[in-house]
Subunit: 211 residues, 4 copies
Amino acid sequence: MQIQKEDIRKIILKAARKEFIENGFKDASMRSIAKNAGVGLSNIYNYFRNKDEIFREVLSGLLHAIDSAMKEHNNPDYISIDIFSSEEYMRRQIDMFVELIENHKEDFNLLLFKASGSSLENFRNEIIDTHTETGIEYIALMKQKYPEINSRVSNFFIHIMSSWWISIVAELVMHDLSHNELEEFIREYMEFGTAGWKKVMRVENYFFEQI
Amino acid sequence: MQIQKEDIRKIILKAARKEFIENGFKDASMRSIAKNAGVGLSNIYNYFRNKDEIFREVLSGLLHAIDSAMKEHNNPDYISIDIFSSEEYMRRQIDMFVELIENHKEDFNLLLFKASGSSLENFRNEIIDTHTETGIEYIALMKQKYPEINSRVSNFFIHIMSSWWISIVAELVMHDLSHNELEEFIREYMEFGTAGWKKVMRVENYFFEQI
Amino acid sequence: MQIQKEDIRKIILKAARKEFIENGFKDASMRSIAKNAGVGLSNIYNYFRNKDEIFREVLSGLLHAIDSAMKEHNNPDYISIDIFSSEEYMRRQIDMFVELIENHKEDFNLLLFKASGSSLENFRNEIIDTHTETGIEYIALMKQKYPEINSRVSNFFIHIMSSWWISIVAELVMHDLSHNELEEFIREYMEFGTAGWKKVMRVENYFFEQI
Amino acid sequence: MQIQKEDIRKIILKAARKEFIENGFKDASMRSIAKNAGVGLSNIYNYFRNKDEIFREVLSGLLHAIDSAMKEHNNPDYISIDIFSSEEYMRRQIDMFVELIENHKEDFNLLLFKASGSSLENFRNEIIDTHTETGIEYIALMKQKYPEINSRVSNFFIHIMSSWWISIVAELVMHDLSHNELEEFIREYMEFGTAGWKKVMRVENYFFEQI
DNA sequence: TATGAATGAGTCTTCATTCAT
DNA sequence: CATGAATGAAGACTCATTCAT
């Protein structure tokens, strides 16, 4: 019983995901979802309060994963990391993101490109802002630890770098890269990014994490 | 006569622009446009084929401007430019973009954030692709001219750099930067970008344009 | 057991009263009632046959009180009352009504203004009709006792007077009168009414009750 | 053309009136109206903004008539009227109301009993309030002219008298009185009312209009 | 007794576009 | 060139009640 009902929940969510992917949140039709789920339209409202709640439920997995990743990323321990192993650290960060993306490709698509009209339509900007604040704090902490660095990086620049991250996520979600292509890109990206940061932060002897 | 009619055209376009800005393409209402233009709803269809055509017309100025900018950017003469003055060149490129943005802030907003549902909803991706191809060609030409550089930059990396460009445009459109903030950002961005490209392209003695 | 169940009954009724007061019968939602009562929606149907029955139950206290008052009002003994003490009698009648109203303000509101759609939606007219018949009888009896009076008062006039009564109840329910205001009104009303009746019934030496 | 279209407007209004009378505003169905009018549902919205506007339009005749009557009733000239002819004046007032009612019986029904849910659902109270204010002013003016009268009539009493008026209208609307019955009632009502007012205002030599 | 699930018809309103005039 | 009228499908969501368990 409990099980059966949970099944229907899942069936509805599955049908909803399909509909959302095909038409985006705004153009998704409750009628269609009901039809595809083989469920009475009004019955859906016994499981979910409204369209938006279904959308959030569909994306809840991804949202939690992102939340965890952000907390991980934000872990203050990383600042005390041995600076010379930072390339390894950066690589770990990237791998984490790549894994996140590959596990939730479809959902990322939904979240980044098809959420307009839903309560998640500003997610992109919100996460950029969060990420930006994290970045600003991070640089401040770095400055404390290594006073020689140039910490006078403008907030907007950090904002842009955060926005870049999301863009990269978006592009990775949109394009199917082979493993080799992915590796190649990561290498290039790391080269580019570390060189850039070194320059901006006026560090020659140190090697910093990419914000 | 002819003049009067052109006036009405413009009035419609003006009302349409307002409506599109306020509600985005999909939620814009032809009724509203007609009402705000003081024109009979069906009369609009004497001037435009449909909603989409109006949208494109509203954005035609920006679209042409972008087109010109892209052609300019793509001008093969630039490859023959004296390489050591490239920083100046990069600066010119950036200024051009900034000017483009400031002249068309509102329209960029429309195009990048509110085109969903229209035939321009993929503009972002399309221009990224175009820009990417340009970038690929550009690097090939550079390689011809300066065989010492590393031209083995992956297409996807160039794609990402193009995507970055658009993200920056988007962010500049969304945020109102003071002149000082803008200058600061540009300086940082140039530092970061040139350092990155130098590294990626294995050039120590040369200095390259940012794709 | 039995007791527990009665508790639930009461909880449901309490939640229902709240919902009815806030939204009126028609717009009251069984879902809301269930939610506010902390009871499964369908379980309500184990205690009540339908929405209407709940409504009647909610108002049963008032309905009984009205019934009693009407019977009291209709008591034939009152006709044999010493005519010169009738002002006191009228005053007693009024006080009874006022007390009735003050004890059931909320329910009167429900019954008079928010019953539309329920089986009680015609209560106002029904009680007016009942009251009217009582009034007609009353006058006939008076005529028997005091043949000098003019008993040729049209039924519709009596109907109007009954309707007036209900209107006054309705207004008293809608407005919060201070004790003083209430007293003042009653005095004025009695003056007005007794003078009116005296005139209509062609009595100079007698003093009649207000129907 | 113009004519044809106006016809459709009228057809819609006619169908709407029927629907409103049968089901009341809230339970009236736009679908039904469309069907009965032989008109596409959405086409109705080319003629009216929404259900409420249709309702007001249906009642516009009555609303204007009421407005005129109220203005007439409120005419300050009536205060300067020769007091001894006031019975004639009162009669004129009553006749005016009776005529108003007979001309708009159905609409009054709609307005007083079936407007719940519409923007006119508070009409009864609103007109009572207006009428009350008029009454208060009227008494003040009378006091100026005839200082001997008792003008200390409580506002609530006047409110009740206004409410009574509306009740009478309502009852007249609900019941079909023959001409004789009507005449009889009016006579009784005038007797009752004038006697009442005389008493309340402590006037023996004067004769006042019913507020 | 109590529950969650299911029903199926119902709500008003909006939409872009076309047509006849 | 301009208009008002018409279209037909679609939108999300709610309702009181019943059923199986």
